[in-house]
């Protein structure tokens, strides 16, 4: 059962799951030198499809291509779809050049969500590295909307440099919450950064949570996630209570194209969010 009060929505737009639905760009904004956010609404009006934190959409740029991007907005808001991504590939670069009023194609939402509902009654530790904060932001929104269901809530976020810190204003707001522990660290910094310098993995040892009653949600580069889970386990968090979000090549998003296979899993439909104990065997193998 979901905590969300919204009714589950069935997409009636098309029976063919490969057909994108046109969305219009309402707002475009750079979060850092290479990362940007788009706010989108469906062309012709109406709500965006209900989504769960951690799910993604296949986003299409006219004539260029289609890629999976996690949803970064508030799952309680149905008036606006938010995607944050880095302009690093052909499609995302083309996407970054689109202006307000232009259109994108969107299919989704797809994939398994963060265990925000199963985590009720537990402490929450969210560990994000780099752009990995984007797929975790909806989980933060949902958890904060139902704050009373959870114990301590800790957000540990690591970025490359202060200029790469995502959602800076949001982080500052969250930091002001008295019932939320937010720690931000950067790998390298100049002198005008007053915050912490060091790896996000080093924040875990002192983060205030009860390891025996914690749900950890981790997203970032795969190596960062592996090291994070090691630190979590050092603290005594059971690997059944650690979740990671994986990235693989995806062409369809619905388990038909075969590209995203990771061992026995299809990252698009069995993931992208996985219980760590479920995938650890393959995560430590090379080139799976």
């Amino acid at each position: 059962m979901l905590l969300s009060a919204e009714p589950a929505v069935t997409t009636t737009f098309s029976s063919d799951p490969m057909i994108p639905r046109p969305y219009e760009i309402q707002r475009a904004k750079w979060d850092s030198s290479d990362t940007f956010s788009l706010e989108l609404t469906p062309v012709g009006g109406g709500d965006i499809p209900a989504f769960e934190p951690g799910q993604f959409n296949m986003v299409y740029v006219y004539g260029v291509g289609e890629i999976p991007i996690s949803i970064s907005g508030d799952p309680a808001r149905r008036d606006m779809l938010i995607h944050t991504t880095r302009a690093v590939g052909t499609v995302t670069r083309a996407m970054s050049e689109l202006k307000v009023g232009m259109m994108l194609g969107v299919r989704g939402p797809y994939g398994a969500p963060w265990p925000v509902d199963e985590a009720r009654g537990k402490d929450i530790v969210i560990v994000a590295g780099g752009i990995g904060l984007a797929p975790l932001r909806p989980a933060m929104y949902r958890i904060l909307a139902y704050r009373e269901h959870y114990g301590r809530v800790v957000l540990l976020y690591g970025a490359r440099t202060p200029a790469d810190v995502l959602y800076r204003k949001q982080l500052e707001q969250w930091r002001a919450h008295f019932d939320l522990d937010v720690f931000v660290t950067v790998d390298r910094a100049t002198n005008n950064w007053r915050g912490s310098i060091g790896l996000v993995t080093q924040l875990i040892v002192r983060a205030p949570f009860d390891p025996l009653n914690t749900m950890a949600m981790v997203c970032g580069p795969e190596v960062m996630m592996r090291f994070t889970t090691l630190e979590m386990e050092k603290r005594g968090v059971n690997s059944d209570n650690i979740y990671v979000s994986l990235e693989r090549n995806m062409k369809c998003g619905i388990g038909l194209c075969g590209h995203c296979q990771f061992g026995r899993e299809f990252v698009c439909k069995d993931g992208p969010v996985f219980r760590y104990s479920q995938v650890r065997h393959f995560l430590t193998k090379w080139e799976v």
């Binding site: 790998d187 910094a189 100049t190 310098i197 790896l199 993995t201 080093q202 580069p221």
Partner: protein, 152 residues
């Protein structure tokens, strides 16, 4: 005067240390305070001590001409800083600067070293604790070297 022993006992670095060892260690300990911006130790200076951070934060820095101060890492309450005192040439490799009001306990290297030589049991306890910190720092450094968030 109140002894520092109960404060040391509460610090994670000394967790589980037998009381008679703690007593020996306390004999080498002294309380220190720094203001934000103050230098705690300077690269190249003789390293006679290491520090147990009680409260506040400090940065490990290095100066590069043309780049200015480069910060390597921030350390905070619960951390231990300094192992240059352990081995020759006993000189600080980095500069330590307080980034907030800082309360530390300084442990005298020569004093501890002598006690460790006299009682290898104590020496072993120290080596275990320091090697753990060194491993943590080394692994973190390796990860930092990978520059994971960079796009290849």
């Amino acid at each position: 005067m109140k002894t520092l022993e109960p404060i040391l006992a509460k610090h994670p670095f000394f967790a589980g240390l037998q009381p008679h060892y703690l007593e020996l260690v306390t004999g080498c300990a002294s309380n220190m305070h720094f203001k934000a911006g103050e230098t705690i130790f300077q690269e190249g200076d003789e390293a006679k001590q290491f520090f147990i951070i009680r409260e506040g934060t400090l940065r490990l820095q290095v100066f590069a001409p043309g780049q200015g101060e480069i910060s390597i890492q921030t350390l905070e309450s619960g951390d231990v800083v300094g192992w240059s005192w352990l081995f020759p040439p006993h000189r600080w490799h980095f500069t330590g600067r307080a980034t907030s009001a800082l309360r530390v306990i300084a442990l005298d290297g020569q004093c501890l070293y002598t006690k460790c030589e006299q009682d290898h049991g104590l020496g072993y306890e120290f080596l275990k604790r320091f090697s753990h910190i060194m491993m943590d720092r080394l692994q973190a450094t390796r990860l930092q070297l990978l520059d994971l968030y960079k796009v290849n």
